[in-house]
């Protein structure tokens, strides 16, 4: 029997582990009063950016694991694929902000939210209209003033005003998120929508939001202007050639004529209000191009 002397110790440890927990806390805490300062756990880098643009960064108490723009001092609490519930509980949020998608709320999140009186706010951010519509609920959750909300909404709205003559200057615009292999931002992506909103003609006309092409597909498309959304890229002329990668070789018309725009804004892939800055940069670049000479009509050619 002396061989089993550790067993009582082990059992005691197990009981201690179970009894050491304060079960009284299993009952829901008292409901928070409406005057409680908002504490937002933001499980979306894009929505965190919109909150920053609203001047409400101070309300963020937990961030998405891949959110590299929010202060690293704010604890990461995982992502929608796997929420770190313990870290989430420790951050003591009042609101859980999630980006709307096809995925439903995890059952445990719903249960913890009910138990701790958290408000789960799902904000869509797939299109530019979604981003614009998401400003108001985010502002309300963060408790920002109406003026701040109107200012952010105004900046975003103004950035996408149509510019006369941009279609003639930019022609058919192809937006790439990567060059090797070429990753096309197709219909349904907010980059594609941005080009169209600014008054240019985005290509291709059909396909998914993210399309993986080959260099040959790009040559066949033959866009008038190429827009590269490469966060952190160097915008100098030499760097643009390097950024083009395999697209620099085949003598693309848009490349040889210098109609390449590199958007290097680190936040250019975030579906957030910060896209206003990206839109302004894109608008300036496209407006600076000379109008594309149109092919002569048959009558003009005959004359």
């Amino acid at each position: 029997m002396h061989r089993h002397r550790w067993m009582p110790v082990a059992l005691t440890l197990a009981l201690a582990a179970m009894c050491g927990c304060d079960q009284s806390n299993a009952t829901p805490p008292a409901a928070q009063t409406p005057t409680t300062a908002p504490r937002l756990a933001v499980l979306s880098p894009a929505l965190a950016q919109t909150l920053r643009d609203l001047g409400a960064e101070g309300t963020i108490v937990a961030r998405h694991g891949w959110d590299s723009f929010t202060s690293p001092g704010i604890p990461p609490v995982g992502n929608e694929g796997g929420i770190d519930y313990e870290a989430l509980l420790k951050s003591k949020p009042t609101h859980i902000i999630l980006q709307s998608g096809a995925k439903e709320n995890p059952a445990r999140l719903e249960a913890l939210a009910a138990q701790n009186h958290w408000h789960i706010l799902r904000v869509p951010a797939l299109t530019l209209d979604d981003i614009s519509a998401g400003i108001a609920p985010l502002a309300q959750a963060a408790g920002v003033t109406d003026q701040a909300r109107e200012a952010a909404a105004g900046v975003f709205r103004d950035a996408f005003e149509l510019v006369g003559g941009l279609k003639a200057r930019a022609g058919r615009v192809l937006v790439l998120a990567g060059v090797d292999p070429p990753t096309v931002m197709g219909p349904g992506s907010f980059h594609y929508e941005m080009v169209e909103r600014l008054g240019a003609d985005a290509v291709p006309n059909d396909g998914a939001a993210f399309i993986q092409w080959s260099v040959e597909d790009v040559i066949r498309c033959d866009p008038d202007t190429l827009v590269l959304m490469l966060p952190g890229a160097d915008g100098t002329v030499q760097a643009v050639a390097a950024a083009l990668g395999p697209l620099a070789r085949p003598g693309l018309r848009c490349v040889t004529s210098g109609r390449v725009v590199v958007i290097s804004d680190p936040k250019c892939h975030l579906p957030a209000t910060s896209l206003a800055r990206v839109a302004e940069r894109l608008r300036e670049s496209l407006a600076a191009f000379e109008p594309i000479p149109t092919a002569p009509t048959l009558d003009e050619a005959a004359r």
């Binding site: 061989r3 089993h4 550790w6 082990a10 440890l13 197990a14 582990a17 179970m18 050491g20 927990c21 304060d22 079960q23 806390n25 299993a26 694991g65 891949w66 590299s68 690293p72 604890p75 990461p76 609490v77 995982g78 992502n79 929608e80 694929g81 796997g82 929420i83 770190d84 519930y85 313990e86 870290a87 509980l89 998608g101 096809a102 995925k103 439903e104 995890p106 059952a107 445990r108 999140l109 913890l112 138990q115 993210f210």
Partner: protein
């Protein structure tokens, strides 16, 4: 069972229990007693899940190594994990096409089991040469089946909105989920326990089968039935682990080898010891990834087990092929 085997099993039981207790007090960046019942519930959920997954993978490894008479066999190497993962994503995709919602946290139970069984059947059929199982061919076929299943998983992923990036990360690299309902965790723990007991029960038959087909048949063993039981059991156990944690690499390979060195090759104590060892290793690995907080949060536990298990697999492979000391000549 020998006295030495009993002592080793008790020691492994104590280590597994200590690992379980440790997991209950580990939090991000340190040790802390669970401050309330909710936190205890969260940690206990992960601990029970990790113990069940670790034990199931290790028992599955024992069964596969015994069934195929190949010390390099494991659910990860033979493509079972990839097959089970493919089963999950296909089921999720079909559900998405039907309902328009991605419900990937708790896929149907049959999906990973069918995926694992399909992959194992393919490996078993293609890995035979002239009716006999060739160890090298088996491993090569397993690797190929695993790669094909992973490629198909990526294909299905690309057909989903956002290319399924946020949703499928878990199915690409193992990570213990906190979103699985307790009822499912307990069910899988019960399946694991039943699987371990069944493996221990048929252990002596595997001892006889390890002598060779002719010898086993001559002592009255029904090899076909034995392999079928092992086949179904390995598929069910692997599929169960996928439901709780996605593909966790190398545990099914390393744990049986570790325990075999301590206990010997008899399959009854080996199955029980491997289950305890698997549970302990995955509990410790999960404690490790919980302690280690990266700027992006916690890394998936499958990364840690693969980082440790990969080199161990290479050593085992080299020993098996006699390229390093201590191996077959």
């Amino acid at each position: 069972m020998s006295a030495k085997a009993a002592r080793v099993l008790m020691a492994l039981g104590f280590v597994a229990f200590a690992a379980l207790a440790l997991r209950l007090i580990v939090t991000s960046g340190g040790l802390e007693w669970p401050p309330d019942w909710t936190i205890f519930d969260l940690r206990a959920h992960r601990a029970v899940s990790a113990a069940a997954v670790g034990a199931a993978l290790a028992v599955s490894g024992v069964l596969l190594q015994a069934m195929l008479r190949n010390p390099l066999a494991s659910e990860y190497i033979l493509g079972l994990s990839a097959g089970a993962g493919l089963g999950v994503v296909v089921a999720t995709f079909v559900a998405y096409r039907v309902s328009g919602a991605i419900v990937s946290d708790n896929p149907p139970v049959y999906a990973p089991v069918l995926g694992a069984a399909g992959a194992l059947a393919l490996v078993y059929i293609l890995g035979r040469r002239a009716g006999l199982i060739d160890p090298t061919t088996l491993i090569l076929v397993g690797v190929v089946v695993g790669i094909v299943c992973s490629a198909l998983t990526t294909l299905v992923q690309h057909l989903l909105p956002d290319q399924g990036l946020a949703v499928y990360t878990r199915w690409l690299m193992g990570s213990i989920s906190s979103d699985t309902p307790w009822s499912r965790v307990w069910s899988i723990a019960a399946v694991t326990l039943a699987g371990m007991l069944t493996a221990a029960w048929i252990g002596p038959s595997f001892d006889a089968a390890s002598l060779g087909d002719d010898e086993a048949t001559s002592v009255g063993l029904n090899l076909g039935r034995l392999r079928f039981i092992a086949f179904v059991l390995a598929s069910v156990l692997t599929g169960s682990t996928i439901l709780l944690a996605g593909p966790i690499g190398f545990l099914g390979l390393v744990c049986p080898h570790l325990v075999r060195r301590l206990i010997g090759a008899r399959h009854r104590p080996l199955a029980v010891g491997s289950a305890l060892c698997g549970a302990a290793v995955l509990l410790l690995a999960d404690s490790g990834v919980t302690l280690l907080t990266l700027p992006t949060g916690h890394m998936p536990v499958g990364v840690l087990t693969a980082l440790i298990g990969g080199p161990v697999f290479v050593v085992l492979l080299l020993r098996h092929t006699g390229l390093i000391e201590g191996g077959r000549r």
